[in-house]
């Protein structure tokens, strides 16, 4: 099960190219892939989840002490169920439990993300990409990227 980062890096060297996109580019990409609905900050249904995501971001390597809790800005988007998101919703609510919409939370300063559907969260991390610095320095972000690649290739 355990494969160190160098082994994984070697294994997926063909797929590791600096391709990290910034927040605006990422949002544009999301809008191309899904029909999104921006959720207002004061939406009671999301209040608790936004606070927990802020806390997660606060202690993450994305923030790394740069921003204070009150400076964090979480944008929440619901993914509208349509033909674009069909394949995700089909698996997300496979048992027909009338689940709430899939949502994505993005912290605008750090790029930290959260999502109530982990398969999509892993895809989003791949969409965001990886930087040259991450690849050269074997950063935590590279580890996450490689773990996801390994998972999606069916080896994890």
């Amino acid at each position: 099960m355990n494969k160190d980062i160098i082994t994984l890096k070697e294994k997926y060297k063909d797929k590791l190219h600096p391709n990290k996109i910034n927040h605006n580019e990422f949002l544009q990409l999301l809008h191309k892939k899904f029909t999104l609905k921006l959720v207002y900050q004061d939406n009671a249904a999301y209040f608790n989840k936004i606070e927990l995501t802020k806390k997660s971001c606060m202690y993450s390597s994305y923030n790394n002490g740069k921003f204070k809790y009150e400076e964090l800005n979480i944008q929440t988007y619901e993914i509208i169920q349509d033909e674009l998101s069909y394949k995700y919703y089909e698996k997300y609510d496979a048992n027909n439990l009338s689940l709430p919409p899939i949502y994505i939370m993005i912290e605008t300063n750090t790029g930290f993300m959260n999502c109530n559907y982990n398969e999509l969260l892993m895809q989003l991390i791949l969409y965001r990409g990886i930087s040259k610095i991450d690849i050269e320095n074997n950063t935590d972000d590279l580890q996450v990227y490689l773990l996801i690649l390994d998972r999606l290739e069916g080896n994890a």
Partner: protein, 195 residues
């Protein structure tokens, strides 16, 4: 004297009006309270959680001890890097009837990025065991010391009050160690109070 009699009658009428107004207010208040109560009791009160501890400094399971039952504290006996995962059921914001969000929270002394294992939720009736959830878990999340996320959703029938949860064959990914660290299988109970 006649004027005094009229004033007294007016006072009586005023008192009657005031009394009626108070009665209406009290009735209105009772109706409002019961409506709020109904609203609150529509969402079951879920008590309890269970969790597992992972310690990369020890290979044996004997030191990776953890308690169930509302315990979110790391209980490994040695110092050093440790991570802890806790599962809870959440019914807010209101989901479909008797559907619960399975949420997990990871806390760690060092950066972690994922967990995997197998989560089973079953009723606590040993005579008639029913499994409500039995799925492999593989969750990768942005590297952090604290993370809380949605694991999945589960339907629990309305007549079930106690759930037993087990997280087995479980691992946590520690970035500094570049490896998945195993934890001891852990069980715990969650009570669902429906009013």
């Amino acid at each position: 004297m006649f004027e005094g009699k009229i004033n007294a009658e007016r006072m009586v009428i005023m008192k009657k009006k005031l009394s009626m107004l108070l009665t209406i207010l009290i009735v209105f208040s009772i109706v409002l309270n019961s409506a709020n109560y109904a609203k609150a009791s529509a969402y079951p009160d879920v008590q309890g959680s269970f969790g597992a501890t992972f310690n990369p400094n020890y290979s044996g399971n004997d030191l990776n001890t953890a308690k169930g039952f509302n315990d979110s504290q790391v209980n490994a006996s040695a110092s050093g890097d440790e991570a802890h995962i806790v599962f809870i059921l959440d019914s807010y914001p209101p989901l479909a009837t008797n559907v619960y969000e399975i949420r997990y929270t990871v806390t760690s002394t060092t950066l972690v990025s994922g967990t995997q294992g197998r989560l089973v939720l079953r009723n606590a009736n040993f005579l008639n065991p029913t499994i409500y959830y039995d799925e492999p878990v593989f969750k990768i999340f942005p590297t952090t010391l604290f993370y809380t996320g949605t694991l999945d959703y589960v339907y629990i029938p309305p007549d079930v009050s106690f759930i037993n949860g087990t997280y087995s064959s479980c691992y946590m990914y520690f970035n500094a160690y570049e490896q998945w660290v195993s934890g001891k299988t852990i069980s715990g109970a969650i009570e669902i109070r429906r009013q």
